[in-house]
Amino acid sequence: MLRTEYYEELKLLARQTRARFGLDSPRVLRSDLRRIYKEEGIKIDLWPYKPRRLRGAYFDDDLGATVMLAKGLPEDPMVFTMGHELKHHLVDRGLSLSYCDASNQSNPMEIGAEIFAAELIYPDEDFRDHLIQMGVSQGSCRPEILVRLKRETRTTLSYAGLAKRAEFMGFASRGAMAKIRWKKLEEELYGPPVYKRFRNRS
């Protein structure tokens, strides 16, 4: 099977999983993933000792299927990591161990898990539709548009994920979204988040 076919199959599986568990928006929460894990019989351990880059790991052996998640991850990376490990459970079982870290993955199994997780949270098709509805055409997507998209859809797919996809689909030119400080840009456009306002007040 060609890599592209493999990745398309994973996207299909992600959409089927969304349908099976009633996920109908780009805002997928860790509680949604917890529900899926429960149904799939996957146990979760939140690991309080800070790994350097490791975010999660999937184990499947005589002790059953377990996912280790780095405790304290913010919502977006936590949801993405849970989606990533779910792919290993659904597709790669029998390999005993696989893991997810913050580096660029180089093997198709890991790239596939990234693609699955992104599609599970926010399907390509929905992303394309939303951008078109916002009047974005090929090559015209700017970082500000992605900030607006994220706010309006409240998606839990990270800015890095949205930017990568915008570039991949041709809405933005390659490299146009590199080195953007997303949180800073968000604050410039919409003001500081509530917790910062409270902190600054006291």
Binding site: L54, F59, L63, S96, L97, Y99, S103, S106
Partner: protein
């Protein structure tokens, strides 16, 4: 192994690992300070009066630079599956050493959890 035996075994191992730590060993007070618990707690773990939680044991093992599995009977630990995981961890060469160590610790914690769960209820 019956629960009392397991508890006794763990209690004995805590004491052994504490007294063997470094060259001179640690006093209960020193260990308590390192863990941020009361000296009484260490004493009660070592006599089996209190049963440490799995998370307590993980913290203890880290503090003493040991694997959590060192606190459990060898017979309940060494399985071919564990060895397979060890081999896989060694193969996880894309990760840096700290993360490989963390994965190994988690794999050992997971196995310790299974041993702990197998104990009959008191």
């Amino acid at each position: 192994m019956a629960q009392l035996n397991m508890r006794e075994y763990v209690a004995r191992r805590i004491r052994e690992l504490r007294t063997a730590y470094g060259k001179k060993g640690l006093s209960q007070e020193e260990l308590a300070n390192m863990l941020g618990v009361a000296t009484n707690t260490i004493s009660r773990w070592e006599t089996g009066t209190y049963e440490p939680t799995l998370n307590d044991l993980e913290r203890l093992a880290r503090t003493l630079n040991e694997s959590i599995l060192e606190l459990f009977p060898k017979s309940s630990v060494d399985t071919p599956k564990k060895l397979a995981v060890d081999a896989l961890l060694r193969a996880a060469n894309e990760l840096d050493q700290k993360d490989i160590d963390e994965l190994r610790r988690y794999a050992e914690f997971r196995r310790a959890k299974a041993i702990y769960k197998r104990k009959p209820k008191q």
